[in-house]
């Protein structure tokens, strides 16, 4: 089955309501908002809640790390998502949900371009409250390790001169602004390229055009010659870069799941500033 397009528009989703599984991946940093309460306040009709902090390796000390394929299959199956479904994700962690499904071998997944804000701004229907319990479905995970990178693999890639793209805002990349998570050093991995995730979006919150994204990737120093690794603060906005790369045909872009939450906390990790 050919992969679904990385992005679908609000108009497309409205036309395909009922034919796709919509997942609400609303995500806030701790203290920034209550994603569960937000979901109950309003969500796209028929959507189920996709919580990246729950569908995660809970044993890891790092935030929302990818769970095992078995745990992922069980969790999304319980949400009523089957291997045959086309999944459409929205919310701040929508791109991470997209990447998680792909890392678990599920290519029929897209992100709603512009998200819930655009959907609601257009006056499209939402629902409030707890949805009825989903009918469990069969989901088979086929893990794709090549889409997930760990610390050693990222360090080796950097040493080999392979492209690592960092989605954090430029001041954090430069080490001029502190990290929002405590106990982390400031700066970036030596050799990493800066591509702030904010640059990927137009003012209305939709992704920039493919031409604009190509220019941005080029300007960041990515020459397209090999698979890239995307990184960020905790593996959420990195997935936006991975999605931008998929739109360029680079379906092989991987995500460093530990990201700066791991790298910035390790005494043995090299850190550059400026």
């Amino acid at each position: 089955m050919s992969p679904a397009p990385p992005l679908v528009s609000t108009a497309w989703l409205a036309d395909h309501a009922g034919a796709v599984k919509v997942v609400d991946a609303t995500f806030f940093l701790p203290g920034q908002g209550d994603a569960e309460a937000s979901f109950r306040a309003a969500h796209i009709a028929g959507a189920v809640r996709f919580d990246i902090d729950a569908i995660a390796d809970r044993k890891s000390p790092l935030p929302h790390m990818l769970p095992s394929p078995e745990a992922f299959a069980e969790a999304v199956g319980a949400l009523g998502v089957s291997s045959a479904d086309h999944v459409v994700a929205y919310g701040g962690a929508g791109p991470r949900a997209w990447w998680m499904f792909r890392a678990m071998g599920h290519d029929r997944v897209s992100v709603l371009d512009g998200g819930l804000a655009k959907w609601m701004a257009e006056g499209r229907p939402t629902e409030a409250g707890e949805p009825p319990p989903p009918v469990p479905a069969d989901f088979t995970a086929r893990f794709r390790p090549e889409l997930v990178r760990d610390f050693d693999q990222v360090r080796a890639a950097l040493e080999a001169g392979r492209p690592v793209l960092d989605a954090r805002p430029a001041p954090r990349f430069a080490g001029a602004a502190p990290e929002p998570r405590e106990g982390l050093r400031s700066g970036h991995m030596p050799g990493a390229l800066s591509l702030p995730s904010g640059d990927l979006f137009a003012a209305d919150g939709t992704f920039r055009s493919e031409e604009e994204l190509a220019a941005l990737l080029h300007a960041a120093g990515y020459d397209g010659s090999g698979p890239a690794i995307a990184t960020c603060g905790s593996g959420v906005t990195a997935c936006m870069i991975a999605l931008a790369l998929a739109r360029q045909g680079r379906w092989d872009a991987a995500v460093y799941d530990g990201s700066w939450s791991e790298w910035g906390a390790r005494a043995d990790a090299p850190v550059a500033t400026g």
């Binding site: 920034q32 908002g33 001041p171 929002p180 919150g205």
Partner: protein
């Protein structure tokens, strides 16, 4: 005179004003905390400041960062003011149907306004949710950081009152206070002051004055979230237990009809030179109800939340009031 390094330090430290008519009518001492004297002219300045300071502490905002909120009123004004004073920007989501005065006030203070059609947002939860979704979008695109102020469920809101308003009231009454009463929008004021006062005197009586159309009166009296009727008051009237309200004890609750609140408002203008907004009418009416319930000789404090000028076209507009079958301001012809 007090010298203040910026407008932000001028927030709080408001006078406590004796409400003569309410005191004389009840034999109690009823005092109003003059929150309309904050630089943004409402009690919401305090929440705005604490929400932004809290985000700074968490490292979520850098100079030029963006504060997003869905609000039809004073919180937007407070956030816009504090944001400008501290070098941030603000984006306020407002229903298109809101009065021009309010939109202008928020714009005047430098905020960007996003107007949304009121119809799909008839459910206020939906409307707040839209501001949250917009904030979520901005969090990924703003290079200097973006926050969702989220006044209903962000407990930095009530912390403002735990640390400032509550202790000020305690100090201004010399600890001789028997009861505190006010209405609820986000719940920050009532909850924060409850926490501050109860920590100092566990026997303090805390009262909720609810407008019609709100569900908390039934919640605190019957344990059921049920709303009935409507109200022309703005910025108060809550249909759920917000995060700010969690864990507090409310000893009394009253439902205040608009007509009762308006009579209080008119009385304050005519006899005390205080021109207040509708929520203050509900608050003072609640204080009078509490005074009658507790009996003479007690000291009761409430909130003078904002200035009446912001509601000229409604509370002091005979044509509007007549249409609603509400009492008219006796000194205004029409």
């Amino acid at each position: 005179m007090i010298r203040s390094p910026s407008v932000v330090e001028a927030i709080g430290g408001t006078p406590l004003i004796r409400l003569r008519r309410a005191s004389e009518a009840t034999g109690c001492e009823i005092w109003g905390k003059a929150e309309f004297m904050n630089p943004g002219q409402s009690v919401k300045d305090r929440a705005a400041l604490y929400i932004i300071r809290d985000a700074e502490k968490r490292g979520l905002l850098r100079p030029g960062g963006l504060i997003v909120e869905g609000t039809a009123g004073n919180t937007g004004i407070g956030l816009a003011m504090v944001a400008s004073a501290l070098g941030y920007r603000s984006l306020i989501v407002i229903p298109r149907t809101q009065s021009q005065e309010k939109k202008d006030a928020i714009r005047l203070l430098g905020a960007e306004l996003v107007e949304v059609d009121a119809v799909p947002y008839a459910n206020p939860g939906n409307y707040v949710r839209f501001s949250g979704a917009l904030a979520e979008e901005k969090m990924k695109t703003e290079p200097s950081g973006a926050i969702w102020a989220n006044q209903f469920d962000n407990v930095a809101n009530r912390e403002a009152h735990v640390h400032t308003t509550g202790p000020e009231i305690w100090e201004q009454t010399g600890g001789r206070i028997d009861g505190f009463v006010c209405s609820v929008g986000s719940g920050g004021t009532l909850a924060g002051i409850e926490m501050a006062l109860r920590a100092r005197n566990p026997d303090i009586r805390i009262g909720l004055a609810d407008p019609f159309g709100a569900a908390l009166f039934n919640w605190y009296t019957a344990g059921e979230l049920k709303a009935e009727g409507t109200s022309i008051t703005e910025g108060i009237g809550q249909g759920r237990v917000t995060a700010n309200l969690e864990g507090i004890r409310v000893d009394h609750a009253w439902q205040i009809p608009d007509a009762e609140a308006l009579e209080v408002i008119y009385d304050l203008v005519q006899h005390e030179g205080l021109c207040m907004g509708g929520s203050t009418g509900v608050n003072v009416a609640g204080a009078i109800r509490m005074a009658r319930e507790l009996g003479p000789g007690k000291t009761i404090v409430t909130i003078l939340a904002d200035h009446g000028q912001r509601y000229q076209s409604k509370l002091f507009n005979p044509a509007f009031l007549r249409e609603k079958g509400l009492p008219l301001p006796p000194w205004i012809p029409g």
